[in-house]
Symmetry: T
Subunit: 146 residues, 12 copies
């Protein structure tokens, strides 16, 4: 049974509340439920973490090495500023898929640059909460294909 | 039965041959077969077009308005240079999903800017030929959700 | 009797539908009717063409040399990206007036640069469909003044 | 009877003398005569002002609010540097048309940016003295269309 | 009785010692005393926190939602680098006032850009320790005005 | 009794009318009344001037040297373009506080740079008409502290 | 007998007429004659094409793969804007030599960047019509050396 | 007898007081005395003006055309921002020499660009008050050499 | 006996594993052993810390003030993004030496800027694990020289 | 008999050894032999010089004026940094052809700008050692055509 | 008797010949004669050197320290590229005046930046050969004033 | 016995005198003595050269290939401008260590870019004269480790 680590970046715990025009009304618990349901159906084991602290997310990623088969990450605000998260992903041997709820390329200028995309296996963005389920499916495909 | 238009941009007819290190070895006919199989399974009707001419792609998009329920497009080289394709998509009422085989954000600087992303409903990139099937699934989700 | 070539660039065939907040509700046939009425009144002969293909617009311009007394062009999306259209205009001996429906300088950053303005005899922008009739009048003035 | 305020920016009082290769040989009094003749024909009342002082032009614009139906302005050198004139126009309820004698986009780099265009109803440039009469006609069209 | 959360960003615990030429000689406990005295006089309840960790400051802000009527924040070094703090503030319903001891716009180039200002209700900078008391007064004004 | 010079920059005489969404509905006379009331309470003497002319504002500032104890200035549009006002402030021995009604850092790009901030004693921005009263209080604090 | 494809980009059909100060007075048929004479002498077979359409040039290049031993291309205006032509060349196994009549690096700023040079085997520029014969000779050298 | 117009730009009336570390201790009247003494010796007639208003300086320059043989100007703060003064000088037939007290290229970044230098006959900078006398001598040389 | 604090930044705990082509095969424990051996030989006391959290590194630095004679720091990813670590170092009275395993100036563009170098006493980079021992020796020299 | 000066810039004396992946394995003496053989065949007299010193290359160029009919130069590293060599070429009356072994436009960013190209008669790059023989032939063509 | 070192930079030995439209027809020997005549009149001893080699000019400057009272330098092309000449001047105790024949700020973009101006005592530019005599006079003034 | 070449770049012969606030008071002979003493202790043979001429430094480096085991270089001003020195180092097979007395990243903007660092084995900067001895030790370590 495959094991997947899901990492939600800063402020995603507020989903559903935060600028619904941009992010939709789905809350993080709702996204997690949908992900778990899909995981059950696909027979994979999910571990889900959220943190507002850049270094904790680095810790999550480092700790995944021999315990998980892949990481599904929405780095949120740290997408644009964190070289540390990028370096942590670059050193991993397991697959990492990056997801974003909104289309970061149609928002403020400073959100147009992703430090994470160049080291992720693939990126899915702009589908709202659906980005996560698409991402999970894509990640499993990548793992099987290895 | 939903109708989907798939548009392959310039040089994609050479897939499998073109820089396999970057794009993989799958050919365009193979991608189309996989897409058709998935379409059959999902009970949608696919129309597939490829062109090297920017203006023809604009024509394809304009012509899709009342004939298709959604567009799956890999604008390839025109991703970075075509305001005309962007404008054609912006005026459409149907959903458009953008896909890329490679991670355009880890290649040459001039490929880091997508003129298409800000007007697409969502973007999927970096999963190789898999980007297309993920994109087709995502597009159908968007259409059902409307 | 003077002969004028009117060239509508990409996506202008969708006018009236496309982002009416930006471009107004007038359709391209309506604009053409108004232009023809004005032409009849001013006793000039109009030929009107539209294309979504950059190279076809270059062909139209090249073909105008000995057949027309002036060109009225709305290069639309190619305003910002086409060195080829610029070069075709630069080599012409006849007058060229550039028009835009919207004020391109109050839209997205990438629309602020016109490759065509430096080689046009004059530019009229921001008056909606009226830009065309102002442009036709201005073009005829330029031709008479030669 | 409509009332229009014409504002000539800095150094335009020297027209006809100043770099005739760029601006033509027509003098400001000649332009004013032609404008007055056209105004008489169109049955509008013109008030014409010129100033070299940025703040005086702001004063002219502010004073126009309830006294005029529209403004025809050639901001000349202040086109590229005056946020104050831009702000004065932005707050007006009446229509403002911006004109330039020369094609500012084919001159020095620092003349390529217009702070005024984004707040003007429309812009006409590059037709020499003719830009003014085209502008007056366009302005009256805009006023009637309101 | 209104409740206000005061957040001091990284290195502010060293105030009075850190480059006194730039920040003055007042220590953080002294600033806190003055703030508390003012709070007592204005009959508001202050809670004061300091952290060097970006994510903890995000936690403080998220936790303030239903517990406080406003936030007074000096984001210090994170002013210029933290999209995460910006996002946390953007989602809040309560008022946030940003203060700085020094004039960040007359220091090093990388301190000239504030990611926080665009999402704060107002900003006060350059008055030394006084910026805090001015900020507290301004924040209470904003809260009363709501 | 302290004497304070209040300087309102270009277009501020139109306050209350000008883009109320951005600047609020308070008029300049209303702001002046509130300032005078506060001044009366604080026992300071106010002199209030407004000009649309950059050079006149330079004159006001130069003339303040031995006649006033401080200047409260909202340079408005000249904030972003006037090296002359900056130089006039830099040479003064008395304190200068800069205020802005709106948050200039969340508006157009060209309003993000203040030439005045680096030479002002402090800056207050984004509190609407309240910025002035906060500024007057801050200025008096600075004067007393000298 | 070696087979070479010569591709002339947009507006080159107007050579001899177009800005003779920049491009010389030689016409395209004259250049083609000289090329054919040289080809006859060198015993190679030339096929010569010209197009104003970016996508057609992509088609020419793609079609050359198994039919020609090398390509001699003057991409003209598309040199500076076409990622599609670049991608088509990058995937070819045969040699490609890029030529320009004028010295593109001493003309307008936007002509200083060649998207084609990094994927061409070599580049020859600034020798007028002579660039073509030098280019043909160089291309044959490259082919023999393979 | 030659007639020379000397124009002092904004804030120069404060010389001797303003940042003596940068500009020296000489006052403007002292500079004027030295200039007059030199003028007397060289048998030229000086007219000296100072203004803080950009447009007035434009007026001075325009008025000089047939009344003076040359202009000696220190545009001060307007050096870096005034297209209007640049245009006024460009249209003059008489010689203009630009002087600066300080070395503007070793001060703040925004003072490194002179809009005036490209239209002046020559520029002298960095010699303190001496720049004026050197400039007057140089201007007279230029006038004699005509 | 001198006391030195060694701080390893984010992801350095993975050394030896992480991109060995860039960082070499030495692990962090091995580096620490070598450092301790050298420390023993030089008779200094080492305290070694590692953290992935920016704010914890700020805490380490703040806590060093009266307890250590110098800091040897490899800020890793935070080198390029942390104003907070820079500010913490700037306020210290003790010497700080910055080391990097790889030559950051020959890697990705975003690693070419060090926010730390300007506040460090000296920097050593590119010698692999050897950078640390060179750095420790250099730090002790600086401390003795005080 | 025509006389040609060949100038090899800095480090070209190391050819064949220096990064053979970039420059090929041919040595400078081998290139010189081939050039001499070609010269003998074409009946021109070659003088060949190499220097690592920018100013010596300026001397070579200045000295060529009345002694040579043309210069064939590979400015190597000075291509990108030497205004002095550019100025020396600009003043020459004889023809200058610039050659490069590698395609400088597909190497590091700082090699993309040639200060020499705008003043050379033509440029040949990317053909390895062959660039020299193509350049010599092209130079002789230019000389004959004069 | 004061001793002055005059340094002419690269290519100035060609004066009179080199682009006379830009630099005038005066030759370097003529300039030197005029300088010597002025020196004789002012009773100073001139030593005049010219070099095309950056490092030799550094040697000249270093050697001037105790042998000359001032340096008059036209760094020509090295003005824009030589940090080494800048550093040599910065360390000198004697006065240095920089002169240019042409107005470097109205020529190519890359000539707009002077690395020398910030370390020179003063700069004179645009007066042709006259710049030298003005410079010599200015230098002597500076020396006397010391 | 290992042989090391020490190269001092331009103006370093003036050390001790040149801006002692930046570079310290140690002279170059003193640095050389310390280096020689260390070399004697470490039993290596030093050869020491200094030049102000870029091309001579290129010569030194080229000449080191088979005669020395390593190079210790302080390129001084040429650090920021010399592609030629960079190319000479890139082709060497022996180890090169770059040293700087001052912290170049905390000085003027144009000193922040090192063209040499990317091709050096390692870089040591900011330790004053100590940078050399640290550099010599580091170089010997590198040589032994080979």
């Amino acid at each position: 049974m495959k094991k997947i680590l899901v990492i939600h970046g800063p402020n995603l715990n507020l989903l559903g509340k935060r600028e619904p025009g941009v992010y939709g009304k789905t809350t993080l618990p709702q996204i997690n439920s949908v992900l778990k349901a899909l995981a059950a159906k696909l027979k994979v084991k999910l571990t889900i973490k959220q943190s507002n602290v850049e270094g904790e997310i680095v810790d999550f990623i480092q700790g995944a090495e021999n315990k998980f088969d892949g990481i599904l990450i929405n780095p949120a605000a740290y997408t644009h500023t964190s070289v540390a998260i990028r370096d942590a992903i670059a050193v991993l041997d397991i697959k990492v898929v990056e997801v974003h709820l909104s289309n970061i390329y149609s928002r403020e200028e400073f959100r147009h640059k992703s430090l994470i995309s160049p080291v992720a296996s693939g990126t899915i963005l702009g589908f709202g909460a659906k980005s996560y389920t698409l991402g999970l499916a894509a990640l499993l495909d990548l793992i099987s294909a290895k």
